[in-house]
Amino acid sequence: MTGRIWAIALNTFREAARIRVLYGILVLVLGSNLLALFLGQLSAHESGRVARDVGLAGISLFGSLTAIFLGVFLLYTEVQRRTIHAIVSKPISRWEFVVGKFAGMVLVLSVLVGVFAAAMVAMLVLQGAGVSSGVVKAIVLCWFEVLTVAAIAIFFSSFSTPFLSGIFALAMWVIGRLTPDLEAATAFAAPWIRATTKLALEIVPDVHLFAVSGRTLDGSAVSVHGDFVSWGYVALAGAHGVGWIVALLALAALLFHRRDFV
């Protein structure tokens, strides 16, 4: 089983590595880090803060957008180009194929997040700001966020077109990110609006858990520039993400299992 999943994952990695858009995103992220270097020079004694904010925002934003892009296209193109015919006619289960595609995306996205993080760390070191454990935890949280978003995109891609899957995945990511703000905004609204919002937020992964810098947790402010979350929190948030990933992949596999490949 693992051999077949690994074969699909490696092939997916090779396939994704040939997508030129990814190299464009890579250049964009490296450029944004250089911009952070420039902006840091303009700000008095805040160059490290700027580098951290821009770097982490770059990992989260571009990592998630890349995850959506890869997620909605990689599964869909297999069906559209009929490359899947020669694969699922072999002794491989469809769920193994879906998991293999996701594992391949995990490899690609991990490399990307690694490169983004390395660029940010290089900027911090260049500015003499150093790398705190808070930065490392924030990077790990971003990584979980990107993987969760990838699973959302794969889920939609298992039954929809890339355009619709992209819109749905983007909407879920944005709503998931804004969950606390949406809850606060509807706190004093009519009961049915509160109930509807609560229901809607329940079915969306809580990706806001991965971007906590600047928020208040359990009554105390957390910031990547100062007191940040514990490793225990990172593990819990990661477990939450893994739970969503497993659930989304299971649903994707179920939907994929019922599809006809014509």
């Binding site: 051999g3 077949r4 690994w6 074969a7 092939n11 090779r14 396939e15 040939r18 180009r81 009929r82 490359t83 015919h85 020669a86 694969i87 699922v88 006619s89 072999k90 002794p91 491989i92 289960s93 019922r258 006809d260 490949f261 014509v262």
Partner: protein, 331 residues
């Protein structure tokens, strides 16, 4: 599932599979209906298809475009879920991963990952079949040579012609040394030499004890190599048997070629009542009806100064049968 239920289930499977041991493929009353997404219009791609393929045979599955050949094959290979009916592959009811591990499949107009080369494609197939690395390498080397792609080994599939892709597809289909080989239009896109090579490969596979099931609409290939043949049209099986069983041995007519005297312009008297009349220069070819008195016709030809060059009886061909069956297929 309780132990008792599991035993009953195994026994039922054994009973079900009893008698199917000699069959590589057994299809009973297979139906497939597609529905268009919004209009919910029904399209019946397969309408109660029933046939079986014995082990060790070459089976030709023929039909015009849109007849249901590819849908049948995709259903057998687990790409499409049947709406009704049953099918077994190598004694295993569909869908069966066990059966798929013993089957080699070449899809119609094969699309592969174009960034791979043929060796990498074979390696990927070998990994999915669970073969160990040394065996994958050995099998890939053998098969790439067998399908004549050794010189193109370093090229990505993107640069392959359609015929080369077909050969690459054959190589990946045979990686697991399959018991049953299912080929959807294997001769499509191949030049005459390529077609002959594929025919030879199919015969070679049969000689090695494999079962080969292939679809095509090239009837000469079917006549040349198949043990049994099935004709499908409009989603229904029209005929099923050996080529000799299917075509009528009754005389259909007599093909005659004569050389006309140079001074003679007309050939009306000789062509009277004949069909397929064709004149090239001073040579006249025609087909006399089955009930024509050939001796009398030859005497008449000699009297007219013509010289008989060739004369041969015409029996029904698979092509005649195919055209007849397709025309008679129920809408």
């Amino acid at each position: 599932m309780s132990l008792l239920a599991a035993r009953v289930c195994t026994r039922r499977k054994a009973v079900f599979c009893e008698g199917l041991a000699d069959l590589a493929i057994d299809v009973r009353d297979l139906t497939k209906t597609y529905r268009t997404p919004f209009a919910r219009k029904k399209v019946e791609a397969l309408r109660g298809v029933t046939f079986s393929v014995e082990r060790g045979h070459i089976f030709g599955f023929v039909g015009p475009n849109g007849a249901g050949k590819t849908t049948t094959i995709r259903t057998l290979m687990g790409l499409v879920r049947p709406t009704g009916g049953t099918a077994t592959l190598l004694g295993e009811p569909l869908p069966s991963r066990v059966a798929r591990s013993k089957i080699g499949f070449l899809p119609e107009s094969p699309y592969f990952y174009d960034y791979l080369d043929v060796g990498e494609l074979c390696d990927l197939a070998g990994r999915l079949f669970g073969l160990a690395a040394p065996l994958r390498k050995r099998r890939a080397d053998e098969l790439i040579e067998k399908v004549g792609l050794t010189r193109a080994r370093g090229q990505s599939l993107k640069k392959f012609s359609k015929g080369m892709l077909q050969r690459a597809g054959l190589a990946q289909a045979l990686m697991n040394d399959p018991e049953l080989v299912v080929l959807d239009e294997p001769m499509s896109g191949l030049d005459p030499i390529g077609r002959k090579e594929v025919r030879d490969l199919i015969l070679e596979l049969r000689d090695a004890g494999k079962t080969v099931f292939f679809s095509t609409h090239i009837l000469s290939d079917v006549e040349a190599i198949t043990d049994r043949v099935a004709i499908i049209a409009r989603g229904q099986l029209q005929a099923h048997g050996t080529p000799a069983e299917l075509v009528s041995r009754a005389l259909q007519g007599v093909d005659v070629t004569v050389r006309l005297p140079t001074q003679r312009d007309g050939d009306g008297a000789l062509a009277d009542g004949a069909s397929r009349v064709r004149r090239v220069g001073d040579e006249l070819s025609l087909t006399l009806g089955a009930d024509t008195d050939v001796d009398a016709w030859i005497t008449r030809a000699h009297a007219a100064g013509a010289k008989v060059l060739a004369i041969a009886p015409r029996h029904e061909t698979l092509e005649d049968l195919f055209v007849r069956q397709v025309a008679e297929a129920k809408p």
